[in-house]
């Protein structure tokens, strides 16, 4: 079976528990396939946890959830050593980070110290506890959530840490018909349990392999460079897209093209992932009266595809 149809099945399967959110599901999958970490920003009760749970189920990955609070310490995530009387040795007890999918709930509620402990793990794929470096499992994904509204008593992630997330998505309210189905449907917990594995770890690695072979032509790279250039020169942007950001955009677009069943990237692919990849990497200049979503909108609608 072709990869893209397998992916479509996976999308449909998750869609069973997260109704009417196909685009967000695809983006979330795209993020995982591109080996990036995902930040979901939305109000409580919008299905953030459900999505992350479903992702893990469909891929049959180990899944841990950590609720981040202000008194959470790095050791609570990474693990710690305890003296074992029987063996007269220190025994390492791995923390919740030793998993394949880690759901970091309300990541902005914890202190920067704990945040950075997690972020090392995200960037390096390994953790250092008590002087000893331990590799994490592979694949290792972090799906973090944060609540954008209640900002009191939070530690907002600085730009450098936001940058570790390949994508940031918002779920948003479901459309009325989807919501109606939600009201009529059965318990989502039950539904989650019924989800079937649609993609294996092997599938995952072959998707990663195939995605890296997706072609990017000169014309497409020209378009990408026009986007980057615009973000760096337009007055509304406080600063432009970094080379890392541009690479993230290209990587995501490749994966998206693959998911669309194409062996080459077209500008539509870039545009599809652009808001998710870039909106958390932009900040508006002081005089610009809009947020980063408005910046992304402007970027997408001002830069010509053919030039």
């Amino acid at each position: 079976m072709a990869l893209d149809s397998k992916i479509n099945e996976a999308v449909d399967e998750i869609g069973k528990v997260l109704l009417g959110k196909e685009r967000q599901i695809r983006l979330a999958l795209c993020c995982l396939f591109a080996k990036g970490h995902l930040l979901i920003e939305d109000l409580p009760g919008m299905g953030k946890t459900t999505l992350s749970h479903a992702l893990a189920f469909v891929l049959r990955l180990d899944y841990t959830r950590v609720q981040f609070t202000s008194d959470l310490l790095p050791a609570d995530i990474l693990g710690y050593s305890i003296y074992d009387k029987g063996s007269s040795q220190f025994q390492f007890h791995p923390g919740p980070v030793f998993t394949q999918v880690l759901l970091a709930d309300e990541i902005n509620r914890t202190t920067p110290k704990t945040q950075s402990a997690l972020l090392e793990a995200m960037a390096e794929g390994q953790v250092t506890v008590e002087g000893e470096t331990r590799p994490l499992q592979s694949p290792f994904f972090v799906i973090a959530t944060q609540n954008p509204v209640t900002q009191s008593g939070t530690y907002p992630l600085p730009e450098s840490q936001l940058d570790r997330f390949l994508m940031r998505i918002e779920l948003g309210y479901p459309d009325p018909s989807a919501e109606r189905q939600l009201y009529m449907g059965v318990d989502s917990k039950e539904e989650l349990g019924k989800l079937q594995q649609k993609l294996s770890v092997d599938d995952l690695s072959s998707i990663v392999m195939t995605a890296s072979a997706v072609k990017t032509s000169d014309a497409l790279l020209d378009y990408l460079q026009r986007l980057v250039e615009y973000s760096r020169t337009a007055e509304e942007f406080a600063y432009g897209l970094s080379p890392r950001g541009a690479l993230a955009l290209l990587r995501s677009a490749r994966t998206w093209a693959l998911m669309e069943g194409r062996n080459h990237v077209v500008p539509e692919d870039v545009q599809a992932v652009l808001p998710a990849v870039c909106s958390h990497r932009f900040r508006a200049a002081a005089h610009f009266q809009g947020d980063s979503a408005a910046l992304v909108h402007q970027l997408m609608h001002q830069v010509p595809v053919i030039a």
Binding site: S217, L220, E268, H287, V305
Partner: protein, 682 residues
């Protein structure tokens, strides 16, 4: 969050720099304390900006204003002259800095800065001054731009570079407006500045006056001839005629009613029509001399308004010249002036003070008797100057009471005024009517623009002798002593002596070829500036417009402005377009865009930022009949432009696909036009 207005940092910096640029040239003219006030205010402002200073209270402000008013009154004695008013303007301008709080205040200071910049033109109008003021105005505009940029983080130079760009773009339109804008005569005249000294010959002449001028290489005036430049021996620039001698000093004794109508004058001078037929026409541009006489070659007549013609055919203005002044002259080199001399005039021309120079009187009378007639007598005196050991020098010895006697029979060393004065004395003593004329002789030809430069060191004095029937005739006794003085300049004759005596050590330098070239080149520029910019008045404007437009009328000027402005815009547009043209579209893109544009009339317009597949989908939704072909085009386009790795050569199917795309686009266009026709007929 504070809502109080904060002067943007860039604006404040630009404003302070602009302020000093604007004040710079004024500060040299004004008392030192004005500069001190400006600096203290700027520092105070900086303290305010860093939050360490305090805004002055109303009482303090009032006190500062009163103190500066008193200081100005103390320095100038009055407020109603140019300098004290400018001093007041500048002091208040500086004080306004520390009062600046709101956006409105900043605007006031900026507009004041423009005004202060313009006041520099009240003192100087040179080409460098214009450039400097333009630069200062650009800096002020920079402050204005920075104010409007607000708190947006820009590089500090951004506002100023924007302002320079604006200024640069405004230049063509400025030139057009300069040419066509109506010249309005000033409603009031600017009171003269006090500090400037008078230059050129004064209204009296004592021994040593002219030789003093010989040390100065300042420019006196420039002359442009309509035809060829006359030979040096004809270049006698008459300025003043001295009739009255008091034993030491020659005075003009000019009558008050100096304006004589040319028509009235023709009676008293028998000018033969044939000699009037070969006039020399020229334009003189006087440097500000702070005196009212003008210079022209003999028998001058002018049509320039505000120039008065004296009885002795000298020209003058009503007020002393505080600015460069331009006038046109027609001169007749061959003339006969006052063939018959009226008695009052004869008495004037024979006047001598009693009791001076007895030896000279005797000598003159004896020589007159020996000579026989006036003409021979003049020649005999000139021969006397030539044959005896008379020396032409810039450093004559001081003379006592009987100055003519001492000069003729003692020292025998003198400059032109000594020769002219003694010569006229001898003439009068022998009963021959004569007078002293002061002015300039010769001039330096600027080969680049063919005009003459007359410097202060060209100042000269000579004599005019009256012969019966022949009238007034020029006699230059200096020529008898030092003939080379008339052919070349005083530099060439006395240059060495002058540099040795350190009267003007730089005079000799002026003749070094490279320096001379530079000096004359620069003077050409300066002269054109004066002629075409400073003296561009209604007359010149009308003449210019008449020549260019073939007539001066509202619609012609309107058309000129519109076309001129349009031309500027066209050039700007073309330069912008050429930047776009540089980037060539890929042939596939061209083909594709053609197909996409064809749908515009059908109500489907592609946005620049829309991908080809998205657009095809939209077309399929809006115009289902075109959907398939649009999708095929999108597919082909995609395969031609996106379906290969960057840097890789296109595969063998590329050409075939391109052909396919071309056919598809053709087909698509046909379909689109058919659809369009169908929708029209329906």
């Amino acid at each position: 969050m504070s809502i109080e207005f904060q002067i943007p940092r860039n604006c404040l910096a630009a404003l302070l720099i602009a302020q000093f640029a604007v004040l710079g040239p004024h500060l040299f003219r004004l008392p030192l304390w004005v500069a001190a006030v400006a600096i203290v205010c700027a520092l105070w402002r900086l303290l305010l900006y860093t939050g360490r200073g305090f805004y002055p209270s109303a009482v303090l402000k009032a006190l500062l204003v009163v103190v500066s008013l008193v200081a100005i009154l103390r320095d100038y004695g009055s407020l109603f002259a140019l300098e004290p008013i400018v001093a007041l303007l500048i002091t208040t301008f500086a004080l306004k800095l520390i009062e600046m709080k709101s956006r409105r205040d900043v605007l006031v200071v900026i507009f004041l800065a423009y005004f202060v910049a313009a006041t520099h033109f009240l003192f100087e109008q040179g080409i460098f001054d214009a450039m400097y003021v333009l630069l200062a105005a650009a800096l002020v505009t920079g402050a204005l731009v920075a104010l409007h940029e607000g708190a947006v983080a820009h590089r500090p130079t951004h506002a100023v570079s924007t302002s320079f760009k604006l200024l640069f773009q405004a230049i063509p339109l400025t030139i057009i407006m300069f040419i066509v804008f109506p010249r309005i005569d000033p409603l009031w005249s600017v009171p003269g500045t006090e500090s400037s000294a008078k230059t050129g010959p004064s209204d009296s002449m004592s021994p040593g006056d002219i030789s003093k001028l010989a040390g100065s290489s300042d420019l006196a005036f420039r002359v442009t001839f309509e035809g060829d430049v006359p030979p040096p021996q004809d270049l006698y620039w008459r300025g003043l005629v001295f009739n009255h001698f008091d034993g030491r000093q020659w005075r003009a004794a000019e009558r008050k009613d100096a304006r004589i109508n040319w028509g009235d004058y023709l009676e008293s001078i028998s000018v033969e029509p044939s000699t009037l037929s070969r006039p020399v026409k020229y334009t003189v541009v006087m440097e500000p001399s702070r005196q009212s006489w003008l210079y022209a070659m003999p028998l001058a007549r002018t049509k320039t308004k505000s120039v008065l013609q004296g009885q002795n055919f000298t020209l003058r203005t009503v007020y002393p010249l505080d600015q460069r002044f331009q006038y046109q002259v027609t001169s007749w080199q061959d003339y006969r002036l006052e063939g018959r001399l009226r008695d009052t005039r004869r008495q004037q021309a024979l006047q001598l003070p009693r009791g001076f120079n007895p030896k000279a009187r005797e000598f003159a009378q004896q020589l007159r008797v020996r000579s026989g007639d006036d003409q021979a007598f003049v020649n005999a005196v000139l021969r006397h100057f030539n044959s005896e050991e008379f020396v032409y020098t810039i450093q004559p010895p001081k003379l006592g009471t009987h100055s003519v006697d001492e000069f003729l029979f003692g020292a025998r060393r003198g400059f032109c005024e000594h020769y002219a004065s003694s010569f006229v004395f001898l003439m009068r003593a022998a009963g021959v009517p004569a007078r002293v004329v002061a002015g300039y002789q010769g001039g330096e030809l600027n080969p680049f623009d063919n005009y003459l430069l007359i410097h202060e060191y060209d100042a000269h004095a000579w004599a005019e002798v009256w012969y019966p029937n022949k009238g007034w005739t020029r006699v230059d006794p200096t020529a008898a002593v030092a003939p080379e003085r008339v052919e070349s300049s005083v530099n060439d004759v006395l240059g060495d002596e002058m540099s040795q005596a350190a009267i003007n050590p730089f005079l000799n330098l002026r003749q070094i070829p490279a320096l001379r070239w530079l000096r004359l080149r620069w003077d050409t520029v300066n002269y054109s500036w004066t002629k075409w910019v400073l003296n561009y008045d209604t007359e010149l404007q009308m003449e210019l417009l008449e020549n260019w437009l073939g007539g001066v009328s509202a619609w012609r000027i309107g058309l000129f402005v519109t076309l001129g402005g349009g031309l500027v815009m066209l050039i700007v547009a073309l330069s912008l377009l050429s930047q776009r043209v540089k980037h060539k579209l890929h042939p596939v893109d061209k083909l594709y865009l053609r197909s996409a544009r064809s749908l515009r009339r059908l109500g489907v317009e592609r946005g620049d930022a829309e991908g080809v597949h998205d657009f095809a989908q939209r077309v399929a939704n809006a115009q289902p009949k075109l959907g398939d072909s649009a999708k095929r085009i999108a597919y082909l386009y995609s395969s031609l432009r996106y379906d290969f790795q960057a840097g890789a050569k296109p595969g063998p199917e590329y050409k075939a696909n391109f052909r396919k795309l071309r056919e598809e686009v053709k087909f698509h266009l046909q379909q689109a036009s058919t659809l369009q026709k169908a929708s029209h007929s329906a």
